[in-house]
């Protein structure tokens, strides 16, 4: 076995790119869950973002406009979820699953004319001296802007939840919506905003797939990335920094297994192909065995002011 042909520098660079879609989706879902809402529609919102971002990107010839549209589309779809679960008090699990199915179907419909079309793609940023640092430059400073936006989003969410009054209110709503309500906070309004934010993030993640990583539109192209994002939120015990670790770990295993194959590693290919999912399951098992979940206490419970 000759693994010397795997370049660690290029590997890290690839991992950053391959982790970005799930990073977006997971950090959005983290905020939603921190507010006490379980939205299982991440996959549906991602793929809707992917198709809308792609369509708008192609038509306007600007990937950035595509990303904005994708965020809008993801938020629009999540708005349906928010209305159903927050005002009509529908079951969150069922509504979320419905959202995924609706998103998959809707995206196939919108995407029909865009199959096989080439899209404009985001240029790699030139960060001047940073990009020229040997090794580190290639690893971290020669990506397109969305890779950094994703990381920045994690930092912002962390800072928001930890240091701001708004973050405190959001967490209070997620931990005990009755207490938050008694204190005079608008539980439903806070949750609505959190759900919209989660939808927008999932949309961005989807658009990153169709506009940068592939870049092409194909039906069902998210291929379960939304579910992985949901798993990563649990994996991270609802902490922003661990989302970053989880996303890079998953992205890392995905890329590494292909690299191992390309380098001719003597490991059964079927095992390598399944490894990202096996590792996700393994980590989830370890976390639940440890017992410390850190899940928001009101997660998945409906709230009505009369209760």
């Amino acid at each position: 076995m000759d693994l010397s042909s795997i370049s660690p520098i290029l590997l890290v660079a690839s991992i950053m790119v391959s982790a970005t879609p799930i990073l977006f989706a997971a950090i959005g879902e983290l905020v939603v869950e921190k507010a006490g809402v379980l939205n299982l529609g991440v996959e549906g919102m991602m793929i809707t973002g992917a198709v809308v971002g792609f369509a708008v990107g192609v038509n306007t010839d600007s990937p950035l406009v595509g990303f904005v549209a994708a965020a809008g589309a993801g938020a629009a779809l999540s708005f349906v979820f928010a209305l159903l679960t927050q005002y009509l008090l529908s079951n969150q699990v069922a509504t979320g699953l419905g959202l995924t199915l609706a998103g998959l179907g809707l995206s196939a419909l919108i995407g029909k004319p865009y199959e096989g079309v080439k899209s404009p793609t985001l240029p790699k940023l030139d960060l001047g001296p940073l990009s020229d640092i040997p090794a580190l430059g290639t690893m971290f400073f020669r990506h397109d802007i969305m890779v950094y936006v994703a990381v920045l989003m994690v930092i912002l969410v962390w800072a928001f939840l930890k240091f701001t009054r708004g973050g405190l209110i959001l967490r209070a709503v997620g931990e005990s919506h009755d207490s938050a309500h008694a204190l005079g906070y608008k539980v439903v309004r806070v949750r609505m905003i959190a759900i919209l934010f989660g939808g927008a993030c999932a949309g961005l993640g989807g658009a990153y797939l169709s506009l940068v990583r592939v870049p092409q539109w194909t039906e069902g192209m998210t291929a379960g990335a939304g579910w992985i994002a949901l798993a990563i939120v649990v994996f991270a015990s609802w902490r922003p920094w661990r989302i970053l670790i989880g996303a890079y770990l998953f992205g890392g295993v995905t890329v590494l297994q292909l690299n191992l194959q390309a380098a001719g590693a003597k490991v059964p290919v079927a095992l390598l192909s399944a490894s990202p999912y096996l590792i996700t399951i393994l980590v989830l098992v370890i976390i639940s065995a440890r017992g410390a979940h850190g899940a928001p206490a009101s997660l998945g419970r409906s709230f009505h002011a009369s209760s």
Partner: protein
């Protein structure tokens, strides 16, 4: 009695309707693994379907279903098509083999055509193309053009068709460039652009400057284009959008003449189960234009090879050739027999790595 009369009437009406239907119209159904928008495999099947429909000018109706997984869903989709009144059904992916046979047993009056498989029945034909003839030409060009001497190969599933392609490309690359090495990545999918793009990137990052693909989408082409000085070949379709670089040539599957012939047979009532395996000679395999990125002398020798294969003067599997473990396979001048090729499950000498099982 009444009920029996009713049944008889219905049966008579159905027979009558069926007969009337058959006089005017033949319906041909197609089951696709991806969507025609893949720009590759399914695209060519769909183009050929349209050409066939145009050829019969209204006499033949075609129906198709896209994105049919190679699982229990396939059986359902094929059954649905048979119930919908298709007279002949083309199932266009290897993994539809057993579902096709299962459905065919239930609909003895419907003709089935399974692409790239090897199991026949009274109403199931199999057809495929000698893609490996095109792979020989690709290997020849790749061997000449690689600078890193590393050629990446995105393989789909470890089935004979794919293994033949890898062997054929390797033999001809090695012939012109003894230092050449192949890295094979098994994607375990025919069509998943994200995975194909990742696989292409992994190969390129491992030093490959030629990427061959046996998957259906254009995603590897896009990845190679992004990387810059990497060459690729169009797979199943011309993928001409990526010419002249990275796509320097291609294998084009032209199914239209076959589809026209087989539907004509159904109309004439002369259809019978057979095994078709055509190559460059009948035009089922076409070599897409070799772009200006290829040096003139390489292009000339590649075209000479195409011509030699077309006339039958040269066969891509001509000895002396050994199997991967070093045991002798073909003696000097001997050519591979159809049976071995159809069931090929071994690499030839020089390829590293194992065929997954």
């Amino acid at each position: 009695m009444k009920r029996r009369t009713l049944l008889a009437t219905v049966a008579a009406a159905a027979t009558f309707a069926g007969a009337a239907f058959a006089e005017e119209d033949v319906t041909a159904g197609f089951i696709y693994i991806g969507t025609p928008g893949d720009g590759g495999w399914t695209y060519e099947h769909d183009q050929s379907r349209q050409k066939m429909e145009a050829h019969f000018d209204g006499k033949v109706k075609t129906i198709f279903q896209e994105n049919v997984p190679e699982s229990a869903d396939a059986e359902r989709a094929i059954t649905q098509m048979a119930i919908a009144g298709a007279d002949i059904i083309f199932t266009t992916s290897f993994g539809y083999m057993d579902p096709t046979l299962a459905v065919a047993a239930k609909f003895p009056n419907v003709k089935f055509e399974h692409a790239t498989g090897y199991k026949q029945a009274d109403n199931v034909s199999v057809y495929s193309a000698r893609f490996y003839e095109g792979r020989a030409v690709q290997g020849h060009i790749a061997g000449h053009m690689t600078k890193t001497n590393k050629i990446g190969y995105i393989a789909s599933f470890p089935i004979p068709e794919v293994i033949r392609g890898i062997n054929s490309a390797y033999i001809h690359a090695k012939k012109v460039n003894p230092d050449v090495e192949f890295s094979v990545v098994w994607a375990y999918t025919w069509f998943d652009p994200a995975k194909e793009a990742d696989a292409a990137r992994a190969l390129i990052e491992n030093g490959a400057d030629v990427v061959l693909q046996h998957t259906d989408s254009t995603a590897p082409q896009a990845a190679a284009k992004e990387a810059g000085n990497v060459i690729t070949f169009g797979q199943a379709s011309d993928m001409g959008d990526y010419a002249p670089m990275p796509r320097v040539s291609s294998i084009i599957d032209n199914w239209a003449p076959y589809y026209i012939q087989r539907v004509q047979d159904v109309i004439d009532g002369t259809w019978e189960s057979k095994n078709t395996w055509d190559g460059i000679d009948t035009g089922m395999v076409e070599i897409g234009e070799i772009s200006e990125a290829v040096p003139a002398d390489v292009k000339a020798s590649a075209l000479a090879m195409v011509e030699a294969i077309r006339t039958g003067e040269y066969s891509p599997f001509t000895g002396p050739l050994n199997k991967q473990d070093g045991s002798a396979w073909l003696a000097e001048g001997e050519t591979a027999d159809l049976g071995t090729l159809a069931g090929m499950n071994f690499y030839v000498e020089g390829i590293t790595g194992d065929v997954p099982n």
